[in-house]
């Protein structure tokens, strides 16, 4: 998937698009090739995005899980035949392994046809030409499902092999007689191989004329068998017969390769269709596994969803046996998001980006309902998208340089997700910068969500104000040092849902309660509370 056409590297990191890439990975090389070419759809292609997404969602309903896994298994078992097809197309003679690849492409297509059943319109039916090619290769299918250039392919091949087998038998017999004769002169039953050692002490007379000394040492001779005239004649006959077999085999390969060449175009189209289906099947599996729905694709730049999940985190929580609380957001302008620490502000931003990314590729989204516009670009600013540690810039400077870069971009439609911009400078100046940023994004007609701890931004800018509802109550702190217990308590008491606040509304940050829950010293907590009251 060409994520880079939609999100730059820091954004891809923040949205965990690598996870998404893995979750949508096709099963075959044909699919991987098509997958790599997948590009996001642009404004004006809303119809195509909606159609793609609806088709996947529809297939997710029609194909049950076992058929999807059957299709994936079939696709996994299909080796890549494109190189073989290309080789035949330019007149090359294929190898037997390449015939296996082509046979498995045709076999796989037939199996997929039956697995797709009433969804079979995805795959063009094998035409007579391809069926006849499959029939021609059928002679080579072995009992175990392998391939052999069998005698049945050609009477000439069968005859050449019979002659070669006879010549081999003749040579083996003549050579065996010679070996036994020579071994007898050495007082042995047999000779161990092409090269053998004869100890001088063991010699009862001169070496046989059929023994050639390769090397002489003080105690032994290293020898080879010297073939006699009859054996040389049998060897020549065997080699000539082997040459005939080679010619006959090559002639069969050439004939089969010509059949492949004649159908090269159809095979390429078939391989392309299988690649496309593989991509769709991976998306169907994704939609089934993560209960996704087709988003309504809007013409305006909006990201609105109900009960949506940021899947990389949901999967991680699932592995730990913890539950995930889906969220709902309706973003169509520049809005501000506030809420407590660990309340899921960053995840809300990521969910917006994740849903917008899937919609842009025409893939169903993990939500109960969604309405999403197509963006030319998604840009992440803030925590989670940073480069590797190091460099000359402070985190504030790096953030400013990135913002400068994002504001300079000319994409007509951009979704900007800013996570605690200016958090590392003074609250006073930070707030001023965020207020200015809201204005700058509005001036550029961006759709944006800005998560912040700074109070009064929405009020100062007139922006819509979303807030994470936060802690339902302050639970009793677990034993100090038990971080896992603290996190579990926190998750249980946190309401991660998002509400839109009326103008002037604020929600508590719960920072001191959180610090207590996470085990900070009681005296320090008391001092903080006292300072807050003052």
């Amino acid at each position: 998937m060409r994520f880079s056409r939609l999100a730059d590297a820091p954004t891809a990191r923040a949205l965990q698009l690598e996870w998404l890439q893995r979750a949508l990975e096709p099963a075959s090389e044909y699919g991987r090739r098509a997958f790599a070419e997948l590009s996001p759809l642009r404004r004006g292609e809303e119809g195509a995005a909606a159609a793609r997404s609806s088709r996947v969602a529809e297939l997710a309903r029609r194909l049950d899980g076992s058929r999807v896994e059957g299709l994936r298994a079939t696709l996994r078992g299909m080796p890549d035949a494109l190189q073989a097809i290309a080789g035949a197309a330019i007149g090359g003679v294929l190898t037997d392994a390449e015939f296996v690849e082509i046979q498995r492409l045709l076999d796989g297509a037939s199996r997929m046809e039956s697995l797709l059943g009433d969804a079979g319109d995805l795959l063009p039916a094998l035409d007579d030409g391809l069926r006849s090619l499959g029939g021609a290769l059928e002679c080579g299918r072995t009992r175990t499902g392998g391939f052999y250039l069998a005698d049945d392919f050609d009477r000439g091949l069968s005859a050449a092999r019979a002659r070669a087998a006879e010549a081999q038998r003749e040579y083996d017999a003549v050579r065996e007689r010679l070996v036994l004769r020579v071994a007898a002169t050495l007082g042995r039953e047999d000779l161990p191989g092409d090269e053998f050692v004869v100890m001088r002490d063991d010699l009862r007379g001169p070496l046989s004329a059929q023994i050639r000394v390769v090397r002489e040492a003080p105690t032994y001779f290293l020898c080879e068998l010297e073939l006699d005239a009859a054996t040389v004649e049998a060897l020549c006959a065997r080699d000539a017969a082997a040459e005939d077999v080679a010619s006959a085999e090559e002639a069969v390969r050439a004939r089969l390769s010509e059949l492949v060449r004649a159908r090269a175009r159809e095979l390429e189209v078939l391989a392309g269709s299988i690649g496309a289906i593989d991509v769709v099947v991976a998306q169907v599996r994704f939609a089934q596994r993560y209960a996704c729905v087709a988003a309504e694709i809007a013409e305006e730049p909006v990201v609105a969803f109900q009960e949506a999940r940021f899947l990389p985190l949901a999967a991680e929580l699932e592995r730990e046996g913890r539950s995930y609380e889906p969220i709902s957001v309706d973003l169509h302008d520049v809005a501000v998001l506030t809420g407590p620490n660990m309340g899921g502000k960053s995840i809300a931003l990521r969910t917006c980006g994740f849903i917008a990314t899937l919609a842009a590729f025409g893939i169903p989204v993990p939500a109960a309902r969604a309405r999403v516009g197509l963006f030319e670009e998604i840009a992440w600013l803030g925590i989670g998208g940073e480069r590797e540690a190091g460099g000359l810039l402070s985190s504030f400077a790096e953030e400013v340089v990135r913002l400068r870069d994002i504001l300079a971009r000319s994409a007509p439609r951009m979704l900007v997700l800013a996570d605690e911009f200016a958090r590392t400078t003074t609250p006073h100046e930070g707030k001023a910068l965020v207020i200015a940023l809201v204005g700058a994004l509005r001036a550029r007609r961006r759709t944006a969500l800005l998560a912040t701890h700074l109070a009064g931004i929405a009020e100062a800018t007139g922006a819509r104000h979303f807030a994470v509802r936060g802690m339902r109550g302050v639970p009793a702190a677990p034993p100090r040092g038990d971080l896992q217990a603290a996190l579990a308590l926190l998750a249980a008491s946190m309401d991660y849902s998002i509400e839109e606040l009326a103008e002037g509304g604020e929600r508590p940050a719960d920072a001191i309660a959180l610090a207590r829950l996470l085990g900070l010293d009681d005296d320090l907590i008391a001092a903080a509370r006292s300072a807050l009251e003052r």
């Binding site: 190898t95 037997d96 498995r104 052999y148 047999d190 191989g193 053998f196 077999v245 090559e250």
Partner: protein, 298 residues
């Protein structure tokens, strides 16, 4: 006597379905040993599968272009080898293709239909060869032979498999050096299993000379346990010194069943009987000279 028969008997006496042939170096007769065992396995009617952890059966040495022994295989033998080295003639039966990468393209599985010289290029990793051997068994093999590199064989072979160590005059300055090298290798590969009821120190990764020196300096009396014998990165006399002072043990012992000698090397040769005898005495293993078709009992 037939060396192939004797080696096969030794391997199968312990129930081994896989025989690994490892060498102390290049040109020490591994291919000749593999060929000898393969011939006899086929003669006994065993369904045989062969693969390699590297490159085996090539017609000439890649370094000096000198001719090498060919691996002529009989009909019915299964091979796991790279598709680019499968002989075009006579045709083999292709059983399956795989995604496993080798130095000569992806690996395939084939059945020999007519006698021919085969080159074996197998997967270079232990996991790759493990998967290839498992597949050969799935195809119905009753016996597999793996031409192996020592460092990877131990990660692969289990106590139920058999190992034959090949040594020879090639690459050794003297017979004494060749004997010392093979004896140290066999001692290392024959490391006994540790006793979990007794105190032990588990070494994560390799036991290096430096780490061994620390154990000897502190007069460590507990068992020093490595995963498998090849995780001891100390060879030759240095290994002997360490083995004398420390109770070296392993979690996954190997079963070395025989040694073979190739007394004639490129650069020199050793007196065959004396060499075989010296190897047998130093390793305690039945030792075979595949060129002389002779065996020296340990």
């Amino acid at each position: 006597m037939r060396v192939g028969d004797a080696l096969l008997d030794l391997a199968r006496a312990g129930g081994a379905r896989s025989l690994f042939v490892v060498g102390t170096g290049k040109n020490v007769g591994k291919t000749v040993v593999v060929r000898a065992v393969a011939e006899r396995a086929v003669a006994r009617g065993l369904a045989l599968g062969i693969t390699s952890l590297g490159h085996d059966g090539e017609s000439a040495d890649a370094l000096d272009a000198q001719a090498k022994p060919r691996l002529r295989l009989a009909p019915g033998t299964l091979v796991a080898t790279a598709r680019n080295v499968l002989p075009r003639h006579p045709a083999s039966e292709i059983l399956d293709l795989s995604d496993l990468q080798t130095a000569a393209g992806t690996l395939l599985y084939a059945r020999v239909r007519r006698p021919a010289d085969y080159e074996l290029v197998g997967p270079p990793t232990a996991s790759g060869i493990r998967s290839a051997v498992a597949r050969l068994f799935e195809f119905g093999c009753e016996q597999t032979i793996v031409d192996g590199a020592i460092d990877r064989v131990a990660a692969l072979a289990g106590g139920e498999d058999a190992i034959v160590v090949a040594t020879g005059a090639s690459g050794a300055a003297s017979q004494a050096e060749a004997v010392e090298t093979v004896a140290a290798l066999v001692r290392r590969l024959s490391l006994p299993r540790y006793d979990p009821s007794q105190p032990f120190v588990r070494v994560e990764g390799a036991l290096t000379a430096a780490l061994a020196a620390r154990f000897t300096e502190s007069a460590e009396r507990h068992q020093i346990v490595v995963g498998d014998p090849t995780q001891i990165a100390i060879a030759g006399k240095a290994f002997d010194r360490v083995a004398d002072r420390l109770a070296l043990r392993c979690e996954r012992p190997l079963r070395v069943v025989a040694a073979t000698v190739a007394p004639i090397g490129r650069e020199g040769y050793f007196e065959p009987r004396g060499f075989a005898r010296a190897v047998a005495e130093a390793t305690g293993l039945p030792t075979f000279d595949v060129f002389a078709a002779a065996m020296v009992a340990a």
